[in-house]
Subunit: 190 residues, 2 copies
Amino acid sequence: MGRWEPNARGRLAEAALELYSERGFEQTTVAEIAKRAGLTERTYFRHYADKREVLFGGTELRDLLVGAVAGVPEDTAPIDALAVGLDAVSEMFDDRREHARKRQAVITANAELQERELIKLDSLSAALADALLGRGVPEPAASLSAETGIAVFKVGFERWISEAEERAMSLVMRDVLDELKALTAGGRTS
Amino acid sequence: MGRWEPNARGRLAEAALELYSERGFEQTTVAEIAKRAGLTERTYFRHYADKREVLFGGTELRDLLVGAVAGVPEDTAPIDALAVGLDAVSEMFDDRREHARKRQAVITANAELQERELIKLDSLSAALADALLGRGVPEPAASLSAETGIAVFKVGFERWISEAEERAMSLVMRDVLDELKALTAGGRTS
C-alpha cells in the first residue's frame, strides 16, 4: 500500500467509465472500480473523493481554457479571447470523441451526475471570468463573456458528440460562435 | 388536517426564508418552518418535497418567460424574443428586490442550494429552447439563444440585487443585453 501506482488516476477513470456504461452508475461500487483498474479502494479514495468525481476529476479543461485566455495580447477583444480559449480546449478533446460520447451518455442517465456537471461548468465560468478580469475586462462584461463562452461550449460540445457530427471540435465551436454573432446582430437596434 | 390553508405555499416560503436567514439553512428543520408559518409538517410536505425546494418551488418564472417568448409575432428575431421574455420576468421581480437579496444570500451560503439553483436554471434554459423551437427557430440557434438568454438573466440578476443598484430590473436586463451585443460585435470578423 502507498506505493506509487503508474497512472492510477487515469486507470481508475477508465475503469469507472467502463463499469458505469456497462452496469449503470448506481449499480457500480468503488470496490469494483478499483478491482477493474487493478488497484485498491484506498488508492481510489486517495485520488477521488466519491463515485461522481472520477468522471470530473481533472483540471485540464479549466487550465487550458484559463491559460489560453490569460495568454492573449492585451488589446484582444473578449469575444476573440473566447475563440482562442475554445480552440485550445478543442485540441485536447479531438482524439477523444468516442470517450466523450460514452461519458456523456453516463452523465445524461443520472441526475446526480448532471448536478455535478452543472457545478463544474459553473466553476469553469467563474474561472474564465477571473481570467478576463485579470486581463482588464471590466464587469459586467467579464462575467457576461464568461457565461456566454460557457454557453457556446455547452452547445458546441453537444453538437460535436452528436451521432452525425464528424467535424473537428474547433470547427464546430467556431460555427457556434459565428451563430452567436449572427443571433445578437439579428435583432432590432435598441 | 387536510383542510384548506389560505396561501399555505407562500406562508411556508416566507417562513423558510426568514429562518434560513436568521439561523442558516443547515440549522433549520421543516418542523420549525411549519411552526413559524402556523401550519403542520404534513402540510409542508404536501407543498414541497424537501428543505431546498421551498426556495425554488414556483413555476412562475418559467411560465412568464416561456409564455412571453411563445407569444411574440412569428417573424421576431430570437434576440428580440429574449428581450421580450426578460421584460416579462422583470415585471414580476421588481417589487421584490429585498426579498431576492435575502434569498440569494441564503443560496450563496450553501453548496446544496447552489446546486439546486443551477439545476433550476438549466431546466429554465431547456424550457426556453423548447419555446424557441416551437416558434420555428432551428437548432443550434434555439439552444444557443436559450443558453445565452439565461447567461444574460444570471448576470443581470446578480447586478440587479447588488447593493449599489437601484434601477428597475428591466433596465438592468436591457443594459446587459446591449452589453452582449457590443461584446459579440466587438471581435474580429471571421
